[in-house]
Structure formats: structure tokens, C-alpha cells
Amino acid sequence: MAQIVLDHLTKRFGDTPAVTDLSLELASGELVALLGPSGCGKTTTLRMVAGFETPTAGRVWLADRDLTDAPPERRNCGMVFQNYALFPHLTVEQNVAFGLEMRGVERAEIRRRVADILDKVELGGLGGRYPRQLSGGQQQRTALARALVVNPSVLLLDEPLANLDAKLREEMRFYIRSLQREFHITTLYVTHDQAEALVLADRVAILMGGVLQQYGRPEDVYHRPRSAAVAGFIGLTNLIPGRVRARGAGRVIVDTALGPVTAGGDPALREGADALLSVRPEQLDLLRPDAAPRNGANVLRGTVRERTFLGSLADFRVDVGGGVVLRVQGRPSAVERAGDAVAVAFDADAAWALPRATS
């Protein structure tokens, strides 16, 4: 039973399309990250699910009910806003109790549940404080408690960690994830931070320009991107243009300016099609020019143009001819320097051919 179904959702503001024909399903208990650059329509989508925007076209189903026309107060979604939206004139306890009050739960019960959840989010004893007296992390947890205490059918998070500093963000990531798992609540998580999406989500939906680019598990999205846009958005990658010469069982051979390359291939690719090879920098190995590569590996020879020390990694730019400069990341102990001749090797599994848009 899918908990959230977005059915051909479209939203236009005047003549400007914000979201176009978005269809998505979230299974019960799963955490899906809605990922994309600023202005891609992800927040608009979230707001349509919550009921703050009315879709221009399409339907929204929550827990098997078509709630597209329902006002926000009748949707039973828990929402955590980017700025937390804690009521400044109410204490933490009153904030958290608010949703229960709206549902007509009786006083004693409210007090019990609020105390329970405050303990659970480690805010026990702070119920009498006002939001302005809390730290960023505490406000965050209050917002979560407020959303969860009413036992909503789905949880909506709008860039919840954007206002926290880097270290806190990392801690809160795992915290939110474990809370979500514990409540086993279907969650839609909007973010522009792709590292966050990959870490947290069961599945990732990538939105660009209001259009869904790809929807799949983090590993799929990372290793098998559908388009250059997605490949470029998620992590770093090298993109090498070419044409598909042949395809076989799960493999394609792509002719590039550097010679033929064997790689994994998008099922949509056919022989003769224009393609792009995506190879992630960390999957490229730097070898001495005379070293013997592994069996079946692709090898390209070139010269190091630049070496940068990144702390946990060393970053290289290697000119392999044909106008292609590859970005390679390897262990910091790699000693190759600018001017050195090297060989760059990668397995067929490490490379992925995707369709190249011809426009």
C-alpha cells in the first residue's frame, strides 16, 4: 500500500511552470529524498502534498485517499518547516501540544503524550521554555516532536537541516533517520544537499526544472545516472562523449576520441546512439605508465596537469589526449606530480554509458 501517491502533478504560477507532470509513489515506511538545485520545484511539490498550494493539474493521494482538494488542516501530515515555524508566544510544551488540541484530545492525555515525546527527543524538562530560549538543535527537535506527536500518516520535511552548522547537521541527519525508522513513518524529505540525500534516503527523486529526472535507490542514482544532468548533479564525475558501437549482455562498447571503452550501459541506449561515459573520479586508478592493468580494464594514457591535496584524498587532473582532461581522486600517498606520465585504468563496471541529449 503506497502511502503517498503523486499523480501527474503540475503546478504553474501564472505562465511559469514550477512542477511539470510529476508522478511518484512512496511505499509505507520509506524515506524518499526529493533532491534538486534551488528553484527546481521540490519545495513547491512538498507544499502541494501538505495542501498549501493547489496543483494546476494532477492528484495527491495520502494513505489511499484523494486529498487533492482537502485543506491543509484535514490532511494529517506532519510537517517540519525550514525555519521550524515554532509559535513564539507558546512554550515548547504548548507548541507540541497544539496538534493534539486541534484534534480534541483531552487534557490529561495531551500532557502525557507531550511529556513522552519530549523525553524521546531529549527535551524532557524543557517544556516550559520558549522557542527563543532554545538552541538551533533544540528548536529542530521541538519541531520534530510537534509534527510526530499527532501520529500523522506521513512526515514532510522541508530542508530541515539547512539552518544548522555543519557538525550539527551531520548529527541531526542520523537522528532524524533513526527517529523516522522508529516511527516507521512514510517520509518525504526535501533537500538540495545531495550528500544528505544519499545518506538518508531509501530512494531518491531528482527534480530539475520542475521535471523528474530519475527516481531510484541511492546506489542506482549514483552509479547509473540517466542523464548528464543527474550525473553532474550527484557528486563529481567525468563525462566523455562517444558513440555506441555495440551492445551485449549488460555491457556496451563506446567509441570515443580516446579509443573504444567497455562500460555498463543504460538500457535505453541502442547501437549507433550518441552517448556519454560517466566515470567517477574515485573509481579511476592512477598507474605507472608501464604497469600492467587488470584483465578487461580500460586503460588510457596521459600526463598529470595538476595535483591538489584535499586532506583525505589527492585530486589529479590528467590530460589523456583528444581534448579530454580526467579528474582522478586517489589516496594521498599517490606521488604522481604535474608533468608525470601516467596510465589511468578503470573497470567496465566503473564506467556507465548514458544517453547524450543532442540539442
Partner: protein
């Protein structure tokens, strides 16, 4: 103005100007407390005799009472009407927003004297003749509503809408959200607007000049008549009361809303 010497020059100039700004007000208070009938320098001595004279003056005290009553009514009417209007204009007016804003500020922008005359002639034309009290209340409400409107809409524009969205998300309908979340948080602005409206009505001269009648004399009119012909400091007492009120209002507004947010926003 960066170097200390420049800053000192500026501070001196500014101090002089502030003295200029506040001198007449201080003078009035001094005159009210002065023991003599004419303010001399050096001052003759302090005395409360003029306060006593004011309290004993039938005409002054009755017009003071009248002004307070008038201001109370005008404030009540304009606060209700003005707040409703600003909610509508900020939230629901759509592309007519600017037009309505201009319309609602218009009573302040056109000369009060002309508005008074227009109302006088209008009341005659619709057969109200010398309407007295009702006409005055209407005229004052007309002047006070823009103040309430300006202040409450400034507060509403600053209001964080996501708080309302959060309330809706938690199950509160539109009305309940307004009552539990919006209203408590803009309360300061409404009170501020009401207080401003009160003072605006209390100080209002132009409209009152044309619409007041026998037995319906607001304090400013009483003062004006008095000042044209005599000069003893009983009038200064009335002035001191106004000054006291003004400072209270300003302090209250500063506390509740913050003066610079209200007046300096938007260049």
C-alpha cells in the same frame, strides 16, 4: 563620518537641532509650572497654580472630558475598521493592493481643513444640518483609521506566514489559526495603532474646527479660541497633558512594536 573630529562636529550640530526640536515643548511645560503669568528668564519659581486654575476652569475641564470621550469612540471605531481593512489589504486584495493602500492613506494626505469643509457641506447637503457629536465622531474616525491601518499593516507584512501554515498543518482551520496564532502575535501592532489613533483624535484640530458646535468643543478648539485672545498659562497645562500623553504613547509603541521598524522601513 568616520574620524572622531568629524563625529564631534556632527554631534554638536545634531544636539543643537534636537534642542530646537524640543525647545517649544519644554517651554510649554515650564510655563505650566511657572509661578508667574509670564515666562521670564530667569524663571520666577515653580508652582502648581495653573494646574489648579485648569482644574477649576469649567470650559477647559468639560472640553477635556469631551475630547477624551470623542477620542475613545473614534479609537474604538477606527481600530476595528482599520484592522479589518489592513488584514484584507495585506492578505486578500490581490492586484488591487496598491490602489487600496493609496485610498486608505488618502485622508491623511489631503489637507485636513478641506476635508473638514467637505464634511460640513456634505452633512448639510444630506440634511443632517449641524450634526454635532455624530459628525465629529465620523470625522475623527476618518482621520484615525489611516493611522491604525498603516501601523497594523506594517506589522502584518512582517508577519511570518509559515507560523500560520504550521498551525494549519497541525489541524487548525483558517479562523482558528487567526485567533490562536495570528492575533496574539499582531496584538502589539493593534494596540499601537489604537494608541496612535487615540492621540490623533485627541490632537485633531482641522476637522474639529469645522464640525464642532455649541457644547461640543474638543480641547484643541477650546485652546485655540483661548490663545487668540488671552495668554495666561492655563493653556500650558492642557499642553502639558498632551505632552505627557505623547511620551507615553511613544514609549508604549517602542516597547510593543519598535519605532524604527514602523517608521524607517521602506525608505
Amino acid at each position: 563620518m568616520i574620524r572622531p573630529r568629524e563625529r564631534r562636529w556632527m554631534a554638536v550640530a545634531v544636539a543643537v537641532l534636537y534642542v530646537f526640536l524640543l525647545a517649544p515643548i519644554a517651554i510649554v511645560v515650564l510655563a505650566a509650572l511657572n509661578s508667574g503669568a509670564y515666562l521670564r528668564f530667569p524663571p520666577e519659581g515653580l508652582s502648581l497654580r495653573w494646574f489648579v486654575a485648569f482644574a477649576e476652569s469649567r470650559s477647559f475641564t468639560s472640553s477635556l472630558r469631551f475630547s477624551l470621550k470623542l477620542a475613545a469612540l473614534a479609537t474604538a471605531a477606527s481600530t476595528v475598521v482599520g484592522t479589518m481593512a489592513s488584514v484584507w489589504i495585506v492578505r486578500f486584495s490581490g492586484r488591487w493592493r496598491n490602489a487600496f493602500r493609496v485610498l486608505f492613506v488618502a485622508p491623511l494626505a489631503v489637507p485636513g481643513i478641506l476635508t473638514g469643509i467637505a464634511l460640513l457641506i456634505f452633512f448639510y447637503a444630506v440634511g443632517w444640518g449641524n450634526t454635532g457629536f455624530v459628525g465629529l465622531v465620523i470625522g475623527h474616525t476618518l482621520i484615525c483609521t489611516p493611522y491604525v491601518f498603516l501601523i497594523t499593516s506594517a506589522v502584518l507584512l512582517r508577519f511570518d506566514r509559515t507560523l500560520e501554515e504550521a498551525a494549519r498543518n497541525l489541524g487548525a482551520g483558517a479562523l482558528r489559526t487567526f485567533w490562536r496564532i495570528t492575533l496574539p502575535l499582531i496584538k502589539g501592532g493593534i494596540i499601537s495603532g489604537a494608541v496612535f489613533a487615540f492621540v490623533a483624535s485627541y490632537d485633531e484640530f482641522n476637522i474639529s474646527l469645522l464640525l464642532s458646535g455649541v457644547g461640543m468643543t474638543p480641547l484643541p478648539i477650546q485652546l485655540f479660541d483661548y490663545l487668540r485672545f488671552s495668554f495666561d498659562p492655563t493653556a500650558a497645562v492642557a499642553g502639558t497633558i498632551s505632552i505627557g500623553m505623547a511620551f507615553v504613547v511613544v514609549l508604549v509603541t517602542q516597547k510593543l512594536v519598535g519605532l524604527d521598524a514602523l517608521y524607517l522601513g521602506g525608505g
